[in-house]
């Protein structure tokens, strides 16, 4: 198939071109194509001398729509194709064709075609005339060659690999069956749009028609030896018939030019690249891995004087040739109290046959929350230029914003961190607890529960009970003492009466015992002191606390003493006993009287 020009045309400008191979062999068929990027009203072909016109002119048209940055461009193109056959050797010139577009006349270029002697396609098939092979074109007649523009790239450098189909037979159709896996590479397809352009090339004296069927930009992702696998293409070729065929056979073979159509799969060669690592020497810390050429940075800010809480736009456009889609956001140290939103990234990246290039634009929206001066410091974009093997720094910035408004005023979202918190920034949280965790059902608060109120009320109840009980106890005890106090006199008189009977019977020992018992008993009951701990010494103290007059206590003790002496003293026993009896009686009566008076 002979080529159409790629549609690199611009609307508004009429381009009218003629194309044909510059070199053909005598007897070879080739195409002469006239192409125009507008709708022509008439087409006048030149006189074609030296060639036989096999067919044509056949007309075809195509419309393409392109959208670039939201603008739509519609391109129409028309082509007029002749199929020619060179009949004799020599150099021939094809005169320009004429065309009219919108009433204006245009002229195409003229072409020069050299016709060489000899090797018409038919001879190629004769070369492989051995039976059994005649159904396929040999690898000498048909092969795909993969070539890279460099075999020793740096890591990340753009390498362009083109796959050219070399043929000496007529190729009616081709399709790419299997693309290489490109393991270890980032790839971008940069094959030219439309029909591939062809040229002729002579290798070892043989003339080949060459068409580029696939072109790719690859970016090695690591250093070392990396291999690009072969590409596989399926072709439909026309093989000229070896034997003279009958007219009917020829008719059924379906070939337009008398050959047989054959399907054939062709594989390209593999390409091995020796990828160099980027030099560690002089590598800036800000280098983010971009390898390419002709990079430039354009940074601009839409205003530098504004009010607090107003938005300001910072635009950073990075232009260059390299793996633009993998470009990393430049690191900018924005001031802490400037609120910066994630940038809006827009790309204008072109895949052209010479590689990937274009512009990536970062659009930052920034809002100063306080007044004052904000300085966005100078930053830089660093890339590695493989041609010079050097790191290139492209500095941009610095920008100073003058923001009117209260400086340091805490806005709704202050970005500042207080001093106290800064100290904490470096610390980590403490470890979890693993021991003695007591789980309990949710909502079981102790406060306000029945148990709580019970525990609050219980002490009060216990307290009240305790107080009442203790009071009663004390009262009871007090009553007993009172009773004994009241009965003391009676008891003493009873004992004295008993002593009187002993006196009458002259029973001396019993009499004194009874007197003692009466006196001590009386004292014990009156003073609320148990008999067991009573003695003459504490009797005096007890009398004192009861405020009994001295004479009375003295006489009481004297009576006790007399009793003791009288018991063992010699002399008239009966008189003494009577005297003691009288004395004891008197003492008790006077004390009783005295205490009675005090109680009232």
């Amino acid at each position: 198939m002979w080529a159409l020009l790629p549609l690199a045309l611009w609307a508004g400008e009429v381009e009218f071109t003629a194309s044909a191979p510059s070199e053909v062999a005598a007897g070879e068929r080739f195409r002469l194509t006239y192409q125009v990027n507008a709708r022509p009203t008439d087409f006048r072909a030149p006189d074609i001398n030296g060639f036989r016109i096999l067919s044509g002119p056949s007309q075809s048209s195509s419309t393409s729509m392109q959208m670039i940055n939201g603008r739509t461009t519609v391109t129409e193109s028309f082509s007029y194709t002749f199929v020619l056959q060179a009949s004799e050797e020599g150099t021939f010139t094809i005169a320009p064709a004429r065309i009219t577009v919108d009433g204006e006349n245009y002229q195409s270029n003229s072409l020069t075609v050299r016709v060489r002697q000899g090797t018409a396609p038919s001879s190629a098939s004769q070369a492989q005339s051995t039976p059994g092979q005649d159904s396929q074109a040999s690898s000498r007649d048909l092969f795909i060659r993969a070539t890279a523009n460099t075999l020793t790239p740096y890591q990340g450098q753009q390498v362009i690999v083109s796959y050219n189909l070399y043929t000496r037979v007529t190729v009616n159709q081709y399709s790419i069956d299997r693309l290489p896996s490109y393991r270890g590479f980032w790839t971008e397809n940069i094959t030219a749009q439309g029909q591939p352009q062809t040229r002729t090339e002579v290798i070892d004296g043989q003339t080949y028609r060459v068409a580029e069927i696939y072109r790719v930009a690859i970016f090695p992702q690591r250093s070392g030896e990396l291999t690009v696998d072969p590409l596989q293409s399926e072709l439909v070729i026309s093989l000229p018939s070896q034997r003279r065929q009958s007219l009917i056979d020829e008719f059924f073979s379906g070939s337009p030019f008398g050959g047989r159509q054959v399907r054939q799969t062709v594989e390209s060669n593999a390409v091995t690249l020796d990828v160099k690592a980027l030099p560690a020497q002089n590598r800036p810390a800000t280098f983010s891995g971009m390898v390419g050429t002709d990079f430039d940075v354009d940074a601009s800010i839409n205003q530098t004087e504004l009010k607090a809480n107003d938005a300001v736009n910072l635009t950073i456009a990075i232009t260059g040739s390299g793996n633009m889609r993998m470009l990393e956001e430049p690191a900018i140290n924005f001031p802490a109290n400037l609120e910066v939103f994630d940038p809006n990234i827009s790309d204008n990246i072109r895949n052209t046959t010479s590689g990937i290039s274009g512009t990536r634009t970062y659009d930052y929206v920034m809002i100063p929350r306080t007044g004052g001066e904000f300085v966005i410091p100078e930053a830089e974009f660093v890339y590695f230029d493989p041609q010079t093997a050097r790191y290139v720094r492209k500095p941009f910035g610095e920008f100073v914003l003058q923001v009117s408004g209260e400086p340091g005023l805490a806005g709704t979202t202050p970005g500042t961190v207080s001093q106290e918190e800064i100290q904490l920034l470096g610390t980590d949280i403490r470890f979890i607890r693993t021991d003695n965790i007591v789980l309990y059902p949710a909502g079981s608060a102790f406060y306000g529960s029945t148990l709580f109120w019970l525990l609050i009320l219980m002490p009060f109840l216990l307290f009240a009970f305790f107080v009442v009980y203790l009071r009663n106890q004390i009262k009871l005890q007090g009553n007993q003492e009172l009773l004994r106090n009241k009965k003391a006199d009676k008891l003493a008189r009873k004992r004295l009466k008993k002593a009187k009977t002993f006196l009458d019977k002259k029973q001396e020992n019993d009499f004194y015992d009874e007197i003692f018992r009466a006196l001590w008993g009386y004292l014990s009951d009156k003073l609320s002191i148990p008999v067991s701990i009573l003695n003459k010494e504490n009797v005096e103290g007890a009398f004192k606390t009861k405020k009994v007059p001295r004479e009375l206590s003295d006489s009481f003790i004297a009576t006790l003493n007399d009793c003791e002496y009288a018991r063992f003293a010699p002399g008239e026993k009966e008189d003494r006993m009577a005297e003691i009896y009288k004395k004891a009686l008197n003492t008790i009566i006077t004390i009783e009287k005295d205490l009675r008076n005090k109680q009232v």
Binding site: A410, T412, T413, P414, G415, T416, V417, S418, E421, I422, L424, L425, T427, D428, I429, R430, F431, I432, R433, T434, I437, V438, L439, Y440, P441, A442, S444, A445, F446, Y447, G448, L451, F452, L455, I456, P459, F460, L462, F463, F466, V467, L470
Partner: protein, 250 residues
């Protein structure tokens, strides 16, 4: 008497002896130790869905969320741990670390010294802690009262009277604090912003004008609610409406 205390404790905590939550807790702690923070958080949450709580559980869950870089949930759980045990020093520390990582740092309205002291005093314990303290102090008060009533010497009467006064005042305060902390948990609603950016609106409708922007982890107080909207206020006094789903109530 000891037997009865044990019985009461058993009744109170009987659920904790069910095997599953304890095992979950152990597994979660192990996961955390192995740095599988997401898994640990999941397990802790599972314990919570089974209806079991504990200040330590919330503390651990907060840690797990913090380690998996979920600041909002981490802060919510540290706050919950502190609600149950205000004196938890580790939880306050971790909360401070988590707060230092969030975007907003709304300033607290400066408090007067007595407000600060009052807050520091009632924050010493949770409501249950204060409840137990008040019971102990009431018992002490009654003991002192009996000592006063039945002591026979003047010195004892004086001493027990002062103790009586002391226990009465502290016991009453404990009760007040218990009630205060109880109110804080049950009625005073605070919430933590859970979405990266939340814009507070002037009224409960998406069309109303924007008032201010908040970021994940910010603590707000809920004042009012209407449908899927809540009126919230910030410590600095700003008030606005946000949607229920953008925050989590502590």
């Amino acid at each position: 008497m000891n037997r009865y205390i044990t019985l009461i404790l058993l009744l109170l905590f009987q659920h904790s002896f069910a095997a599953t939550p304890e095992e979950l807790l152990e597994e979660a702690n192990e996961a955390y130790t192995r740095s599988e923070y997401n898994y640990a958080a999941e397990l802790y949450e599972q314990i919570l869905t089974e209806g079991m709580v504990s200040a330590d559980l919330y503390y651990n869950l907060g840690n797990a969320y913090f380690k998996s870089n979920k600041l909002g949930p981490a802060i919510v759980n540290f706050e919950r741990a502190l609600r149950l045990r205000p004196s938890d020093e580790d939880a306050s520390h971790n909360l401070a670390v988590a707060r230092s990582r969030i975007v907003d740092s709304t300033e607290q309205r400066p408090q007067l010294f007595y407000e600060r002291w009052w807050k520091a005093a009632y924050s010493l314990q949770g409501s249950d802690g204060w409840a137990i303290t008040s019971i102990i102090l009431i018992i002490a008060f009654l003991a002192a009262t009996s000592a006063y009533l039945f002591s026979k010497t003047v010195v004892w009467k004086k001493v027990s009277f002062y103790f009586m006064l002391l226990f009465f005042i502290t016991g009453t305060l404990s009760l007040v604090f218990a009630q205060k902390q109880y109110n804080r948990i049950t009625s005073e609603k605070e919430a933590i912003i859970m979405q990266a950016r939340v814009t507070a609106k002037s009224s409960p409708s998406a069309q109303s004008s924007d008032l201010f922007l908040m970021h994940e982890g910010t603590k707000v107080t809920i004042r009012n609610g209407l449908g899927e909207w809540k009126e919230i206020s910030l410590p600095n006094g700003s008030v606005g409406w946000i949607k229920n789903e953008s925050m989590e109530i502590i």
